[in-house]
Symmetry: C2
Subunit: 146 residues, 2 copies
């Protein structure tokens, strides 16, 4: 068994802000869904772009969402994960949209009409690292796409 260490709130936030891809979980009438997404953190919210007709666009607005980022190194048996939860709403204010686009516009790899901006303001943030004696922030393999 490997050591599991809770990450500090500051570590969680740094890892979250450094990410470009994660997974969002939502509840729907036919049960939970999980959707891999590109994202960015703007201010204190996770911004996800989706289509208004997707499962996420349909059931992921004005409700609680859970969001996860992680990185696992299976060769070294170490890794970390961060989970954020909170209510999500649709960004409609033109000034908010301008700010999002100016800071970093989420660019989904997937083509298609993803003109709905979901904003998840997290109210809980927690994370863990597996294996001691290493710093998740120092070995961050994901890079912000520019």
């Amino acid at each position: 068994m490997l050591d599991v260490i809770d990450l500090s709130p500051d570590q969680c936030e740094q890892l979250l802000r450094a990410g470009v891809a994660g997974r969002v979980a939502l509840s729907s009438p036919d049960g939970p869904h999980i959707v891999p997404v590109n994202f960015s953190v703007v201010g204190d919210a996770i911004i996800i772009r989706t289509s208004p007709y997707s499962v996420l666009g349909t059931y992921g607005r004005d409700t609680v969402l859970a969001f996860e980022v992680d990185q696992f190194d299976h060769d070294r048996w170490r890794g970390w994960s961060v989970v954020a939860r909170g209510r999500a709403d649709v960004v409609t204010d033109p000034m908010d949209l301008d700010r999002i686009r100016a800071t970093w516009e989420p660019r989904p790899w997937a083509a298609g009409s993803r003109n709905l901006y979901l904003r998840l303001r997290w109210t809980s943030l927690s994370g863990r690292q597996v294996g001691a004696d290493w710093d998740p922030l120092a070995t961050l393999p994901v890079r912000r796409a520019v």
Copy 2:
């Protein structure tokens, strides 16, 4: 924009069976949760070990779960993801437990009392790859821990 290609059911299943770490989404009274987990596929079910007192152990039994595995290469802008959904139950039959342990016992990296075996028999399986002209199966970076 990059091409997004639906994976075939056979590709989805191969990628799922090759994985060792994924994320499970569940609905709870206070909204959706997402939990990173180790897993194995035994027969036609995803096996996850958890604690009976965890969120997953409490709200993830006898209900629909969503499960996701993925791999993204941010340098090459390509990746794949597979999502499985279906009902999960707790494995209690001693012969089923023996079979699971004989085939491959999920070994959570995290220490603790994870003596509850959840079995997710998927009824839907779908996946996508981002970027054409490469084969997710040929470059599978995750390895089954032995």
